[in-house]
């Protein structure tokens, strides 16, 4: 489901391939960015990271406890 107009609290990545997580306001716990493709995970992680850095709100779609898409507002 979509979680709209939220702050990004944290973004966490490791050096492992397609391993990135985020905490979104009002959404419980760390949510992994779904490991569909190398660049796709990087794009979503970049979006969430820059949104957090500049205080932008986001919409995130969480499916099966994984972030599959994101919009920076």
């Amino acid at each position: 489901m979509w979680h709209n107009n939220k702050d990004v609290r944290y973004v966490y990545t490791t050096h492992g391939s397609q391993t990135a997580y985020a905490v979104v306001a009002d959404v419980a716990g760390w949510k992994r960015i779904k490991a569909d493709s190398t660049d796709g995970v990087a794009n979503v992680a970049t979006l969430l990271s820059t949104a957090k850095a500049h205080g932008r709100k986001v919409n995130v779609y969480i499916d099966n406890s994984q972030i599959t898409r994101a919009v920076s507002l």
Binding site: D36, S37, T38, D39, T50, A70
Partner: protein
Amino acid sequence: MTVQLGNGEPPEMVGAPELVIITKANAGIGVTDQGVASATGADTDDLAGVLASASASLQHLFSDDTGGSGDTAASPAAGNNGSSTDDPDGLACYFTADVPADQMEEVAARLIRCESVEAAYVKPRAELATIVVDSPEGIAPAVTPNLRNRQLYLNAAPVGIDADYAWARSGGKGDGVTVVDCEWGWNLDHEDLIQKNGGVLCGSSSSNDNHGTAVWGEIGADHNGFGVMGIAPNAELGASSFATLPTATAIKCAADKLVAGDIILLEIHRRGPNGVGGPNSQQGYIAVEWWPDDFAAIRYAVNKGIIVVEAAGNGWENLDDAAYNTPGAGFPASWKNPFKLSNPSSGAVIVGAGSPPPGTHGRNTSPWNLPYVDRARCGFSNWGSRVDAQGWGWEVTTTGYGTLQGGDRDRWYTDTFSGTSSASPIVTGALASVQGVLKAKNMPLLTSQRARSLLRSTGSPQTSAPNRPASQRIGNRPSLRQLIPAALKTWINSVKITYCYSLTTTQSAWAYVDGIGWRRAKNGSADGAGNVFDVCCNVQAAGTKANVYIDDQYIYNIIQL
């Protein structure tokens, strides 16, 4: 078929010679009820004396009643002092005077010696850039047949401009675009010109209206199942008439009726310095921008963001000829040959006439027995580095004239419309299609300069024929299949990114370009698309701006500012 190797039009279809006076900017010359006056205190006695001796009065060439700058000398505060930011083109300094044609040269020679006069010259009469074919009498069938199969210029490239490609795209029939044809007369009641008929916007139509009717038919004839099909039938058609207005006045008036992205078509040419033929010869006739006042009017329109399309003329002339570097008698000292690419340009798209394929309408040669070689220069067409593109110069099927279908004149059609007159509407219609597509996509509309550039870089190339080598440039024939995608691909500068959006699947990232819409980071390489999206996200999040190179689907490049 009788072909007249000259203008051959009845008198009401050609202009009269025009006397043009350009006053010095700092003289602040204007016209009051009492005659000539200066807003800056300049001496006008000599000017008034010359006019009085010729029983003539001065009139603004670009006057208020045609949307011009109007009289200002009576009111110095109005600012006809040559420095007004309201008149950056100096149009308030252009005048004409009601002097009999046989006295114009003598009066111009006296005017040029007046203290406040920068230039005074006589323009030969303007004429239609067509090769006239007599209209046979005939009886029309009860219902006009569908004539589309005779309009080969609509076909796929290279024979035609590939109109079907444009028509299949949203806006590609010229939606939301207005095209004003500047010439003499139009049959506003023609059966195939009903739907987007905006009428005469400036001046009054001549009763001899075949030429304008033929031009309108090429650009915008209705798609109604009978007759011909216009290239851009959803474009609004308008007219500005030289029948009652000086040419420069009619051009500026048209520009004042239009907005950026609209199109003006100039269906005229006039005798240039190499024009030594008899009264029925078009030898040496050239595009009108060579004369300073017409150049100024075109520049005014182009600076408003209007595309101006201009017939190159049927003068059999090389516009790169050194003769065109010499100013006409009485031209201002600042004048420079506009046909020379290194000189200031009017910005207009200049169109030459190209040959149709052999066998078109069962014919293989022009009346001068020059063989049809597809896309080779028509013998009569002017050529040169300044010519941007070509259209069909023979065998154009369209409305008017009655040579293909006679009977009631509101149902007349021809398949022999010709000249740079028939070529220019083809390019005009193609550009109207492009502008319609761009409007539908919310993309920036073409300027006249960009239209020139794209017409030169796309299309079906000019070919050579005996004694008419492709080096005698008339440019490419437009291909909408090439032109539209090229026009859609453009830089948008200093723009915000409003949103960014990404999926976790590969190369699935979009950014919303402010005022334009969603565009996908161009897929093709994962890291490349990722880099573009990375910058989009940074620009969006920081609230800064970028230059983006986009089309209607993708962001290809981005520069973070």
